[in-house]
């Protein structure tokens, strides 16, 4: 009934702690988990935050100027920076997945290069938009 192979301990699924601490992720793996983390962050709280600010900015003249003052606060700027990164990384990684879906760049080397490119481009775009906003 129970062979040695069946008794062997093997991971049943990749838990978050396993991904973070036990497995050394290759670069495409980092892009993947960051795509999930950034996506989750965008769903909550950043979309809620964005809708709140859009609501306030369109409500009245006072609301509009309140949003501007609010976004000038250091804490809000920090949040905005994280939001920008999440959006930029998610966007770039998403474009990469669309290419992978078309079987473009699926060999090991191109996949690694594009993964590194996505991480760098996500950060560069974040810095670019942050510089424009400040």
């Amino acid at each position: 009934m129970s062979s040695a192979a069946a008794k062997k301990q093997r991971p049943k699924y990749l838990s978050l702690p396993a991904i973070l601490f036990q497995i050394r992720l290759p670069l495409p793996g980092w892009v993947s988990i960051l795509h999930r983390i950034s996506g989750a962050l965008l769903v909550f709280p950043f979309v809620a935050w964005g809708l709140y600010l859009l609501d306030l900015s369109l409500r009245s003249e006072q609301g509009f100027s309140h949003v501007r003052e609010y976004l000038a606060m250091p804490v809000a700027k920090l949040g905005l920076l994280l939001c920008l990164w999440a959006a930029c990384h998610h966007f770039c990684a998403g474009i990469r997945y669309l290419f992978l879906d078309l079987n473009k760049g699926i060999e090991l080397r191109p996949a690694r290069i594009s993964a590194g490119l996505v991480i760098v481009l996500g950060l560069v775009l974040t810095a670019f938009f942050a510089a424009k906003l400040w």
């Binding site: 699924y13 990749l14 838990s15 978050l16 999930r36 996506g39 989750a40 965008l42 769903v43 909550f44 979309v47 809620a48 809708l51 859009l54 609501d55 900015s57 369109l58 009245s60 003249e61 509009f64 100027s65 966007f91 998403g94 474009i95 669309l98 879906d101």
Partner: protein, 113 residues
Amino acid sequence: MVKRIIVGAHYGTRDWLAQRITAAIMAVYTLLALAIMPSRASSYEAWKALFAQGWMRIATLLFFASLAWHAWVGVRDILMDYVKHDGLRLGLQVLTVLLLAGYVSWTIDILWR
């Protein structure tokens, strides 16, 4: 002998496709927004006028509707992978649906006030 053809419900393929189509819609809107929003964000009047236009309202609603569908597939995948307790996963999925439905309703409320 019963001959059974194993086929899935195919919702996996449908969701996969939906996630990509909604992603494309959001990407187009994002590029559009980057092109036109900065110049309109300088004053309340210009900002208000932008969102008073019919096409902008439709495009923005389309964006948030796409976002809700896209995020539902994504969050569901994340929950299926990491939350192993059935009850907890179901609860979180219901919360996600409520949150995303709330986002779309809120968008409509903001745009057609």
